[in-house]
Amino acid sequence: MANENVFLQFNAIKKSYDHKQLVVKDFNLSVAAGEFVTLLGPSGSGKTSVLMLVAGFEGVTSGDILINGVSIKCLAPHQRNIGMVFQNYALFPHMTVSQNLAYPLKVRKWPKKRIQSQINTFLEMIELTAFAKRYPSQLSGGQKQRVALARALIFEPSLVLMDEPLGALDKKLREQMQFEITRLHKQLQFTVLYVTHDQEEALTMSDRIAVFSEGIVQQCAKPYILYEHPDNAFVADFIGENNMIKGICHHQHEQHADIGILQNERIHAQTTARLKPNQACVISIRPEKISIKRLIEATPESIHHSLTATFYIKHYVGGYIRYYFQLSDGSTIMVKSLNVHHPLQLEPQEKVQLIWSIDHAHAFIIDSTT
């Protein structure tokens, strides 16, 4: 990213709450103006802490946060002009919807007329004009979330933080709100720092995703890169479903590794890591990239990107079917195949050939998972 485009920048941020353990370890990230960046990770990975540091609710232990090149480390929350959407909405229960929306504007001493017209604009935008006089307790979850969103945007902050804003909603509402947020983001062009543990949400909404684990960013990239070219085993395992097969590296040539698995089989895989001969590693293959061939149709020439496995169970999911196979060492491989005209009917214990394109196997060093 070109440097003049950087809007929000984290420089080697560290955060500790108890003076002993670092919750955020050396966090670096540059966000361009208008970008939608998601911090994704399991709970306790430090992603919410980063958000708290940006909002100013917690102090930075070391490092610096810059907005437009100016440090905001020493500013109080109310001086930062950053909008925030909370997981439990945090709508003031003793104020009506329009009073909630008016709050940041009154604080900024906007003239009354302008406040009213701004409220009307935003109420229209979130389609809650009829609910202006209601109290938060009289709204449904989705409505509250929309009001919370409007309240964080109404004072036109250039940066909006969202802390698992859809965590409390059911699946259908969540999808609706994802659409709503992306729509508003496109319309109003603000920058978003979004925290979630829901990867599907992250993949659909974000321009870029930073995958967190144990206070460290494992990879920060566009959604499709995260999915197709994960940097390490953690990302490969965390984003989407993956088959992880343990193996030992024989040799590596540039980005191609020759890896031995099971007793005697060899597999070729892509890798960005530097594998030494005889180093333990894992190979990840996405379940939907694998196709199933009956042994009679097997193609023996694809020896370095296929495996023989025994079928044992299948799960019908609707849009697709999951087939589970066992390798000779007892480990499981799952294959997802679309539920098209004639789904494959396999006999119990039937042996099949599992085959994939050579680009879809990725090898990682084992240690980076922990």
Binding site: A55, H78, M84, N88, A90, P93, H94, F155, L161
Partner: protein, 412 residues
């Protein structure tokens, strides 16, 4: 839309189930209901009744009262009435109940007790037949005050079974001879006492608020370990007997007590300060005793306030003072009103502590009620005062309820 209504069978079944639930609920609260009936409703009703219903005098001299009710009050009562009075007084004298009558009448006319007692003693020896004839002479010979209309007015007034006079007394009012309500000439006691109680209740409530609010806030935001330790300090006085606490304060505050002795020793004062047996000591000790009752509801409410509200207000641009005034404080209102009501109401009715440390200056309305029940034996007046206190608290509660409007405070 089809079949969204219930058939009659289904309706009956639903009704039966509802009834079953209602019965269950009722049987669960029944023991409490019985308890309340005996320990609360019955005593309160008796109290309210006693404040207006006073049949003592009417039962002692029923015939005289009946005749007095027809008396117009222009002249002295006629002979017939006087004879009746003489006969009934003699009967009372024989049954040794004349003293009771004397006490009752004396409340309406100071000094009449001795008159009645002297007369009763003299009439005791005289035969009924003679009294039937010349009762009025014996009566007037025994004490000249029987020729005064004042005693008859007093008896007539005391003889009313249903009366508002105790309420009037409790409000420092009285009825003059024409039946008009006017303020009492001689003493102005109860209103002043009500006002003093009110003033001190405000002071104590204010003090507990000033001391309790910041402490409750700290307790609610402190880490669990610190909060637990501090909570013990808050609750410790709560668990100690009130008598022990009050006595401890006496030891501290008395003329030769800890505080005065230390101040004298430090040469800060030359003479001991009058710290005990005045309003000051009542306020100090009552504040100490009632403080936990302010802290507990405040703490409960503050604990339930998610810190995200304060954070949200901050992120929206509000400065700390504004956050407190517009977001945090309004959200604590329910706890605040509960605390204020608890402290205020408890203070108004508090008896033991003012009685022990208050001296004469620090006495409250409850102490005068106790006095009328235990010492002056004037249960009717005590009941009237109690009923007024009850009414006052109900009005206060209603007012407070209106002011704080708990409907708006529903948390998400």
């Amino acid at each position: 839309m089809k079949r969204s209504t219930l058939s009659s069978d289904e309706k009956a079944a639903a009704r039966a189930e509802l009834r079953h639930h209602q019965w269950l609920a009722f049987s669960l609260v029944l023991p409490l209901l019985c308890f309340l009936l005996f320990s609360f409703i019955a005593p309160i009703s008796t109290l309210l009744l006693r404040s207006v219903y006073h049949p003592n005098v009417q039962q002692l001299i029923p015939h005289t009262i009946a005749l007095l009710n027809e008396w117009d009050g222009h002249d002295l009562p006629n002979n017939n009435l006087m004879i009746q009075m003489a006969i009934e007084l003699k009967k009372l004298a024989k049954q040794r109940e004349a003293g009771e009558l004397a006490q009752e009448i004396n409340r309406n006319l100071a000094g009449s007790a001795s008159q009645i007692k002297i007369t009763a003693r003299q009439l005791r020896q005289i035969d009924d037949a003679i009294l039937m004839h010349k009762g009025q002479t014996y009566l007037q010979d025994a004490h000249p005050a029987w020729r005064d209309k004042a005693i008859w007015f007093a008896i007539k007034k005391a003889g009313q079974v249903f009366t508002d006079q105790y309420y009037l007394t409790a409000l420092d009012l009285e009825k003059n001879a024409q039946g008009k309500i006017q303020s009492r000439q001689d003493i102005n006691l109860y209103i002043a006492l009500f006002l003093k109680t009110l003033k001190m209740a405000f002071i104590v409530t204010g003090l507990t608020l000033i001391l309790g609010y910041p402490l409750a806030y700290y307790l609610a935001s402190a880490p669990a370990r610190t909060a637990n330790v501090l909570f013990i300090f808050v609750l410790l006085p709560f668990w100690t007997s009130i008598l022990v606490r009050t006595t401890a304060w006496i030891a501290l505050l008395q003329t030769n007590g800890v505080i005065n002795a230390s101040l004298l020793w430090l040469d800060i004062i030359k003479q001991p300060l009058p710290l005990l047996y005045n309003q000051f000591s009542t306020i100090i000790v009552m504040t100490h005793i009632l403080l936990p009752l302010m802290i507990l509801p405040l703490y409960a409410v503050m604990k339930s306030i998610d810190p995200c509200y304060v954070r949200a207000a901050g992120s929206l641009g509000a400065k700390p003072v504004r956050i407190f005034l517009t977001v945090y404080f309004p959200m604590t209102l329910s706890g605040l009103s509960a605390g204020i009501l608890l402290v205020f109401i408890l203070f108004i009715g508090y008896f033991i502590t003012p009685a022990l440390v208050g001296g004469t200056d620090g006495q409250l309305i409850s102490n005068i009620i106790a006095f009328h029940m235990q010492k002056s034996n004037n249960w009717a007046l005590a009941s009237a005062l109690g009923a007024l206190l009850l009414l006052f608290i109900i009005v206060l509660y209603w007012l407070f309820d209106r002011l704080t409007d708990p409907n708006k405070l529903k948390l998400v």
